[in-house]
Amino acid sequence: MDEILKVDDLSISFQTYNGEVQAVRHASFSLKRKEVLAIVGESGSGKSVMMQSILKLTPCIRKSGSIWFDGEDITEFDDQQMQKIRGSKIGIIFQDAMTSLNPTMRIGRQISESLRRHQNMTAEQARKRALELLTQVGINHPEQRYRQYIHNLSGGMRQRVMIAIALACKPKVLIADEPTTALDVTIQAQIMSLLGRLKEELDCSIVLITHDLGVVAAYADRIVVMYAGQPVEVGASRDIFYHPQHPYTRGLLASIPRLDADGAQELTSIAGTPPDALNPLPGCAFYPRCKYAMRICQDEAAPNKNFSESHCAACHIHDAGAAETRVKLGWRETL
């Protein structure tokens, strides 16, 4: 069993006053053991919802699909069964550690809580382990921090505590939901290298949810690019950065500001507005913003095309019949 987590044809909806919001639409991906998988997409592309719905942390409706974890179908698990997986086998780090940690509970207790729940530790054992964890995530004076509250800590330290909580029971999978978005750049780098180190120490897989391609480039083994609740391109980091095959991926890469660019040059962006999750388009969701849009894109969703064993993208531009169009629209095979 090479895959620790496998999601197949997952669709997630929310019921709102305005109607049904289709947050995730027919998403499939898998996470291999010991790999770092990045899920990249703009805000509202469904990446967080998708991962949180795997742990059943959000109240949403699953329309289709199945979720497999460690060879077991957890799609229909109830809350009791999920409690045994949450925290002990799958840990999750949220974006904003300030609001994601309990302001009135001592840091030590917030860490030892899950140790006592999942590993049947006594209070004293849990305390020792929590102190170890604090040291492991690079917090000085763990004894002192153990007794403090989050308002005593800086942003970076809070995120370290968050990581300590998520990794307390040595989970097999760590979901990091934009772990560095709320932090400044130097702390971002520290947190990311901490995650990289801990991944080696604990032998776990990481799902890294982010919209920062810079973070992804340095740490991810594979990348899933999501748009409007669908993975549009999946591939190894190398494939995505050097041979992107979906116009959206190319747009994202072109939008990264370059240090060596002329100062007067305007920043590149993808024209248009993000898709409307209430009224998804019948064809390709990216169609209205796509430079290479063809007539077929409006009516028909593109099938996945494999470029190599690990690399696939869903775009009509790669159809055999579109060869002429590719030339006409100026599609280049490589960047």
């Binding site: 409690q83 949450r86 949220f94 009135t104 729940r117 968050m162």
Partner: protein, 308 residues
């Protein structure tokens, strides 16, 4: 912390002094005096005023009173002839205190419980039931509730004694009647803050740790919802403990409430002053205690404003 307590004590003393002064002069401004009733002739009235020192200038009376107060002398009641005010408070307060503690405990348990249940069942039958109870509790005056309780449980069903305050069975109806408005207030407060906490990120984190629902409810949700309740706890406690005249008189509880109203009706200067100072001091102390409790319930609030 020590500095803070000293500061608070000083402010409390000043508050009480101002209270004394305001009440003292206010009651002097009420037309008439304790002896202006038709049962006194002018000569008798004059004699009585001289006896109690009420014929002297108001300012002199004030300083005499305050001087006595400092030496712990609350004076003698005028209406209950010859009875020291302190004795009246000492005999009546235990009843009010007993009833108040019962009502407070009942209100805390029922109010928090009802609020939590309502929040957990948002939009469902239980939630609406708690709203109905709250509206009844807040809008129906306690003399109506008390009389209805009396009629239903004592007169019609005969389960509980009608009035007086001698055994546990006697305490049930006064407790319920006194606690009901407080239950309603606590339940509403608790429901609102609970709903806020339920949707918070740290509850999601608690769930992501795989904690049991009960564990999350007790150590994360309820605890963090308590703060608004603590805020109103001080004045609420003081008013419950010092007695409600209406409930006490309907159930014939020999508490402070009766003396409070009587003292004003009879212009019993020393009793009015004594009870007001007692009530005021109680309120000040309760608020002080609540401020100290804040720091325990919410560690973000640091008493004294110093960084640790």
């Amino acid at each position: 912390m020590f500095k803070y307590i000293c500061k608070r004590l000083l402010i409390s003393v000043i508050t009480l002094l101002v209270l004394c002064a305001v009440v003292f002069f206010a009651i002097k401004f009420i037309p008439g005096d304790p002896f202006s009733g038709p049962e006194y002739t002018d000569a008798m009235r004059q004699k009585m005023l001289e006896l109690y020192g009420l014929d002297k200038p108001v300012l002199q009376q004030f300083f005499t009173y305050m001087g006595n107060l400092l030496s712990g002398n609350f004076g003698i009641s005028i209406y209950y002839t010859g009875k020291p005010v302190v004795d009246i408070i000492a005999t009546a307060f235990p009843q009010s205190l007993d009833l108040g503690i019962r009502a407070l405990l009942f209100a805390l348990i029922a109010g928090i419980g009802l609020g939590v249940l309502a929040a957990l069942h948002r939009g469902k039958a239980l939630d609406y039931m708690s709203i109905v109870i709250s509206i009844i509790g807040i809008s129906i005056p306690s003399f109506v509730v008390a009389s209805m309780l009396q009629y239903i449980f004592a007169v019609v069903l005969g389960w509980l004694p009608v009035a007086r305050y001698t055994s546990f069975a006697h305490t049930i109806m006064p407790t319920v009647a006194l606690a009901l408005p407080t239950i309603a207030r606590f339940a509403r407060l608790m429901r609102t803050s609970m709903l806020e906490v339920i949707d918070s990120d740290y509850v999601k984190t608690a769930r992501s740790k795989g904690l049991k629902k009960r564990q999350i409810l007790l150590s994360h949700q309820v605890r963090n919802s308590l703060l608004p309740l603590v805020t109103v706890l001080g004045p609420t406690t003081a008013s419950l403990l010092t007695g409600s005249f209406v409930v006490e008189s309907i159930f014939a509880v020999p508490g402070l409430g009766k003396f409070f109203v009587d003292s004003i009706n009879t212009q019993d200067y020393s009793l009015i002053m004594g009870l007001t100072i007692f009530y005021g001091a109680f309120l000040v102390i309760m608020n002080f205690i609540v401020d100290l409790i804040y720091g325990i319930v919410d560690p973000r609030i640091r008493i004294g404003g110093t960084k640790g």
